[in-house]
Symmetry: D2
Subunit: 340 residues, 4 copies
């Protein structure tokens, strides 16, 4: 994030070029989502409890009897016990290092499974978005980012631009699977009738390991992708110049108006040049927009060439994206500094 | 919970009578699940943020320009601003009383919707279980609990036992619907590509209100059910006597063995009487198990009639269920004491 | 179905006793659902096609070239081919015995996976209902049906009524899992972009085998349950007498009115006896309703004792359930007679 | 489909340019998916049945009584009826024009709802894919297809390339919602216990209309998109030239080898030129690959300039895509010719 905080790129909304942003700021969005996931995962992990030792319906009744020295009987004031069932539970669970649930039936509340699988699904969702964005940006028509590929992986020899984003596709595929699993755990929690029914058991053996294994594989691949992500700065600059210049005409308009231009007229002037310029770009020519504005005295009456050039440079039009990106990077570092 | 903490009932596992527990302890399980939901809902609510004011791709670029007094230009050292875009955002958002996201694109991260709808689905799941249990216990074959019904609602005149648990069925129906909605919000979060795509908008208008409205209706009905729940203590005692006595033979066994009986032999004796007793009950007779044991000197050799009577009374065989129930009730009160 | 077509049982709506039906008719409902599944499964199976041989984007372009004897060139009238690509495909696919899709991209349309997994989920749903009903009826408070259990499986020795329906619970558990899998295949079909993206591959390896394996296990267990299902006719008769007599008062009312009784008055008479009778039953006594009616001359004025007895016998009040059940059984046999 | 059956375009796999195909063939894929949906929808529609008239638990018992002229009594040989309940049902249902289910409980089997909503979800899935492809192709970096937009909708004046695919996004959004609804109907079918429970009612009122309304809106928008779809043939040709030429080098290789070239050496020659050519394209230059091959006598030794030109023209490299597209179009017309 920090390394690319100032690298201006063209932002996309609706998969259409919109206004400039910076690569670092885009990465910061992924970072923020993952930070949310991390917080959820830590919270869920720290809240995990064991059922404890409470017997067949959670009352500890038989433990109480077993721990009692003498026969429970109506005449016995109170059966003397060295240990209560609750004390036994506390002792064993603290040896295991797991907090027991304060109440339970034959099993612990299955809501816990749901919270765990949900947290994994959240993580899968964040990486699904990251991987999908990567797949779009790796298309040669944009070509800004690419999955790492080994020296041997020469790609298709005849089609040098072809680099299939197979890791990102794999992440999206598994994420989609993980996203369906919380529903099973919800069903288990919502349908465990009275002191428990056994209709959770068979699917838990499938769903719980599957959720962890798939999340693990997603993380493993995402980690590799992020570590060795190929960033093509030339392609970024090219796309920014191609699309961002148009976005930057908004600045030319605002500045010219501040210098006294009529907003309505100036808007029309810029629109006319934009349409013509795009027609040329669409045919594969270089972006003629700056030159067109330089040569129109309806524009130069208000702005110098240097001003126009500066204003059209979309890489300056990124607002506070760099600062926000860097701030987010620091926040993430702070969170990761904590012992996980 | 507190009122029924000591009311012994027969607990069910696999929908089969198991060991005794108490009504208050069973209610405490619902209470604990709902407490978890409350914690989740509060946490999610407190974490809700607004997008803030960050413009079309989240960079605040145009706000920065608009706030600038003079033309942004290469020769200007730094455009003088009275306010930065971030300061403006902070001012407006604090007037609204909503924290802004530190980073955003054209929209706030859709993961927030997912967290919100998940919390609602969690609530729906807890009440699904409660309502399903109620439906089972309201069946006249058990008849322990029943939905409230008004004076006018006489039920079927010819079938006086027939009381359809329509509120509980309604809760289960809606809960099942709410349980599918998180998936839509996951999709929205995981597929909002680059600086946003608009493929979230149409379904959000359906899903977000539907989740809140359904959860609200579930709560409204559950509230009514719980407030005026009809508890049939006679039926509870009847069921406990019918099934619990058998569970309590475990205590007779343990006590007789403590008094010197041979475990193997005593086990066989009890088994024989249990089988015979159940056969009679199944034909509609009263439970003959206590009398059978009283009359068998293989048993009375070790235990007095008073001891057998005490041990067979399943209502004493509830372990620390009452204490745990009361403790949970106090914990819930403590949580609700906080301003919601 | 046929064996039990005439065995009257009490039917339940809202988990409350309603009117009588027959065991065979209830089984016929399961049969009808399963017949629907069978039809779907057969239809989907018969419609399965292979991609065929169509190359990297489905155009067969390279096959065309390879099959061409000479250089494709502008001056060649038409490259002479012994075989067209389509002929090659037809030859190979008919050797495999699989119809090829008429059009395809790099893969066959993923909608096919969705149809297959849906058909499996439908089967799982029908058996989920069957298994859940069995779990309810196996509860000792009803005790009408039970899972088979081996000679060794003595159940809990002290609790002779306790027979956990573990196979039925297992079926419900797996069914719930299978029910979530169609969504993954929908995603694969709906998101396979342009001539294919690889975001289906990883989860298909998980989902397709899981769906078949779980459906297979569900079938295996259901098969065993159905083959050796334990039917307790005594319990059925007991429950029918207990609840069905009340339902049958509707017939007494209708018949008395036909004999000239005032509908309003007779309704009140019956209601009064019903309430009193249920109060006794609830305390464990035998059903006193018939005797109460015999002794009330407001009733006997219109109907003889024999008529009342006949009318109150709920086992005659099953309408055309037996015929419909037998007809359904024949329909199922007819379908299964076809080569599967 | 037919109009564009011969219009060569570059096909994409993994969102990466692959081999050429034709626009008509791509459309034929959508057509085939929709044809499958149509078949499913028609089949489900034709199979829809009503519950019929079968009373509270499906036995028609009370209808039978009501239709009987005299008192049902033990001495009556057979109660004389003018009509049987089944005859009444048949008469009424045929007046309604709906086949009754052969067996039913208090309701018709809820599996029918599941089949209906599934068919709608299938339709939504096919249009999801179509709409997503459109969103990708409408990105100005490809620019091959675009949503229609009215005369007034000038798009962003300053960014003439910006045309947000809002209808396609809307379709994808709603489709994602429809895709979750089958699960609710599955639950209703799988959990309608014994002769029916009412836990389906509340959510059916939400889910069934929502599924139809959303599917209808999806169809309405898709219909508009398809009718007035903007096809940019220039952009298609440009992209084909840019990427397809590389794919076509495979043909140059095959032909040169047929003329005696060494496969290994020729492969290396082509690879070298491809890499160099792509580097130039990436910098915005025209595709220099043909010229590079013309000037290399390692190539021209085997192939004439006319042959190379012909072979490199990817628009000839579409195999039997045109024929298959036209055949599919005919098949669709045939299906639609049937009265819907």
């Amino acid at each position: 994030i920090e390394r690319w905080a100032n690298t201006a790129i063209i932002g996309f909304t609706h998969l259409q070029p919109a206004e400039p942003t910076t690569l670092g700021y885009r990465l910061a969005q992924y970072g923020f989502d993952l930070l949310t996931d991390l917080t959820e995962l830590r919270r869920v992990r720290d809240g995990i409890r064991g059922k404890g030792f409470k017997g067949a319906v959670g009352t500890s009744a038989s433990y109480g009897e077993l721990l009692s020295a003498s026969i429970a009987a109506p005449d016995a004031a109170e059966p003397q016990q060295q240990w209560s069932a609750a004390q036994l539970e506390q002792a064993v669970m603290s040896a295991i290092g797991l907090e027991p649930f304060p109440v339970a039936t034959q099993t612990y509340p299955r809501k816990q499974d749901w919270l765990v699988v949900n947290a994994l699904a959240g993580l899968a969702g964040s990486l699904h978005k990251f991987a999908f964005d990567l797949r779009l940006l790796q298309a040669p028509s944009l070509g800004e980012l690419a999955e790492p590929f080994g020296a041997k992986q020469v790609g298709s020899s005849a089609m040098p631009f072809k680099r299939n984003p197979i890791n990102a596709e794999n992440i999206d595929s598994l994420a989609r699977f993980v996203a369906t699993l919380p529903r099973v755990t919800w069903d288990n929690a919502a349908n465990s009738l009275l002191e428990r029914t056994l209709d959770d058991s068979a699917n838990r053996r499938e769903v719980l390991p599957a959720a962890f294994l798939a999340a693990d594989e997603i993380l493993r691949r995402a980690n590799r992708l992020i570590r060795d992500l190929r960033v093509d700065e030339e392609a970024m600059a090219r796309n920014l110049e191609k699309y961002g210049t148009f976005a930057a005409t908004e600045r030319v308009l605002m500045s010219a108006v501040k210098q006294g231009a009529n907003r309505q007229e100036m808007h029309e002037v810029i629109r006319e040049h934009s349409l013509a310029a795009w027609a040329e770009i669409a045919q594969g020519h270089a972006n003629p927009l700056p030159v067109r504005l330089f040569n129109d005295d309806r524009v130069t009456r208000y702005l110098t060439l240097a001003q126009i050039t500066y204003l059209l440079d979309a890489s300056h039009y990124v607002g506070d994206a760099p600062e926000r990106a860097i701030k987010m990077a620091r926040q993430i570092r702070a969170q990761l500094g904590e012992p996980l």
